[in-house]
């Protein structure tokens, strides 16, 4: 489904949020609502998105919105969706859950699994900034290998996050056989918004995992958010993909995966890494990419 930027509405449904400068999460929310429109009902758990949009007596959202508990966002969205159907709100309303990576792949995963199993009619948008940023940069199951966080500090006996792979929400949700799962990035607005558009037109549980760099937690300049997203895709540390009709599809394949060092070196969370560490990470990236090629049935 093609997005025409010239015909996108000028109307903003999310503005005035108290985010940090360069926040990827709020970019995700803004673009998502551009596509979904004003007949959207949002549920969001305690997270950066809620804390920066929904502090009484202000609200940065111009659609219906509810803040719910950390582990409860998918289930709350499910309830809203079931009630919207029963009360006859109409086929053109959308229920969007927007939740961070910790609230999705860790504490919120069980509720999301339930919503996926029931195939409740929601769009679940996970903005991934690779740690619990709202509470002070604690690591999550989506934190990058070797990244400094406040709970994976760097010292003589530690190089940061120890787990070598981000939990693969994309494959976890595909295993639930929901109608649509996608990965995307705020640095790729066309890709992102087209995927939102596609999800909007479908019934059932749609899950979109959007990469959302965080200058505060990652320690890069505030004007590099989009650049970080682009580099993550070009280096193969993130990818743009879809799952539907039992088929995995990689939407963009870099001609050759770029060296990861420039991406890492502008982020303070990786400042402690030496050349050998970076070489090891690149090796892991290569192995992961070989695995992904099998998932997406790509030729060498």
């Amino acid at each position: 489904m093609a997005i025409n930027f010239r015909t996108l509405p000028d109307q903003e449904l999310l503005y005035g949020a108290r985010t940090c400068q360069g926040c990827g999460a709020v970019m995700a929310g803004r673009m998502a609502l551009k596509v979904l429109g004003e007949k959207t009902f949002v549920a969001t758990p305690a997270c950066c998105f809620a804390a920066t949009t929904s502090v009484f007596p202000q609200s940065a959202l111009f659609v219906n919105n509810a803040v719910t508990a950390f582990a409860a966002s998918a289930a709350t969205g499910s309830g809203m969706s079931v009630a919207a159907k029963k009360l006859g709100f109409g086929d053109d309303v959308q229920i969007m859950v927007i939740s961070g990576d910790g609230g999705t792949v860790d504490i919120g995963l069980q509720a999301l699994s339930g919503a996926a199993e029931r195939n409740d009619n929601i769009i679940y948008l996970c903005y991934d900034n690779e740690a619990y940023m709202n509470t002070g940069v604690q690591r999550s199951g989506s934190t990058a290998y070797n990244a400094w966080t406040t709970t994976t500090p760097v010292g003589p006996a530690s190089k940061g996050e120890k787990t070598k792979f981000k939990k693969s929400l994309f494959e976890i949700m595909a295993a639930h056989r929901v109608p649509y799962v996608a990965t995307t990035s705020v640095s790729h607005p066309r890709d992102f918004m087209e995927k939102m558009e596609k999800a909007k037109a479908m019934k059932g549980c749609k899950v979109i995992h959007v990469f959302a760099p965080c200058p505060t937690g990652w320690g890069h300049e505030v004007d590099l958010t989009v650049e970080m997203g682009k580099q993550a895709v070009e280096t193969g540390l993130w990818y743009l993909a879809e799952y539907e009709n039992d088929t995995f599809k990689l939407n963009y394949r870099p001609k050759e995966l770029k060296d990861i060092a420039p991406y890492l070196k502008v982020q303070k969370r990786f400042a402690h890494l030496n050349d050998a560490d970076i070489a090891e990470m690149q090796e892991i990236r290569d192995q992961e990419w070989e695995r992904l090629k099998k998932v997406f049935r790509l030729e060498d």
Binding site: E38, K39, F41, A43, A46, A50, A51, S54, V55, F56, P57, S59, L61, F62, V63, N64, N65, A66, V67, T68, A69, A71, A72, S73, A74, A75, T76, G77, S78, G79, M80, S81, V82, A83, A84, K85, K86, L87, F89, V93, Q110, A111, S113, G114, E117, R118
Partner: protein
Amino acid sequence: MVEKVADFLAEGEADYEYMMVESEHSAMAAALGVSMMGARAFTATSSQGLMYMAEMLNYTSGGRHPVVMVNANRALAIPWNIYGDHSDAMAMRDCGWIMLFAESGQEALDMVIQAYKIAEDKDVMLPVMVNVDGFTLTHTYDVVDIPEQELVDAYLPSFDTANKMCLEHPKTLCHSVGPDYYTEAKIAQQEAFEVAKAKIVACDEEFEAMFGRGYGGLIEEYCCDDAEYALVAMGGTVGTVRDVVDELRAAGEKVGLIKIRGFRPFPEEYFQSVKSKFKAMGVIDRSLCFGVGGTVFGEVKSALYGSEMGLKGFVLGLGGRDISVDMIKEMFAELKECPAGEYSDQPIFVGRRW
């Protein structure tokens, strides 16, 4: 309970939406979502399940969403025990839900209907937990009258509220607030509980007028007019105490029963009004507030501030242990020995094995 809800649907006797969620936490989160859209929500749980949904109980009550839930009162682990007592509900006594306790199957059924009317009152807007003793009420047969739909609809008209999402006027629900608003939000809840006291009574009276069954609102006194010794009980135990009172009355003893039906809000005014009515009062607790004693006893003692009556706090029936007629007689006998002004500062365990 939920099995029966599914049966009604399977038999084509109902047209509600039925959600099967993976956990109690999600059950209450979904109920919150349903209620925020302006629809009625119902769920049921028990024991560990109530603990697991604890976080969402406060979301629902703080957000002022009138969800109704039945809780089958059962013990909490550890030791793991599936049988009845009040530990689960008492652990959640401060979660901001109205908490009612039923004595029989019929009262439980009627209480659910009343619960929606109480919860949805525009001056109340609080969720209601209908407590039903695990096993003694939930797993025994009791012939009940299921009222006609038309009568229930007349008692409980369709529900509308401004506290819901709306396409014409979008809003944020369950807002985050800072220290500048939190206190007032909590005061509003406290005030709603005060309003609820009269509403619980009024809803019960209206129910009685329409259905022919009334339960006394927050409190029922049984044989208390000339009683010298009274036992306070909640839930299914009330039925046994009632029988013992009948038996002792037949033998000429001036004993009575005080049934607490509304535990939250707590009928403080009632206890203040009877603080010099009896020679001694005993409270039956089926849970422990560790480090203090019987949970209900603590509340009754507090409400009786300034009383010169003898007061005894009994703890029994934990983890499904039977509460026998003899035990109730034993408690009445102890009350007769209790001098005015004396109160038990330690829980008196009735029926302990060692």
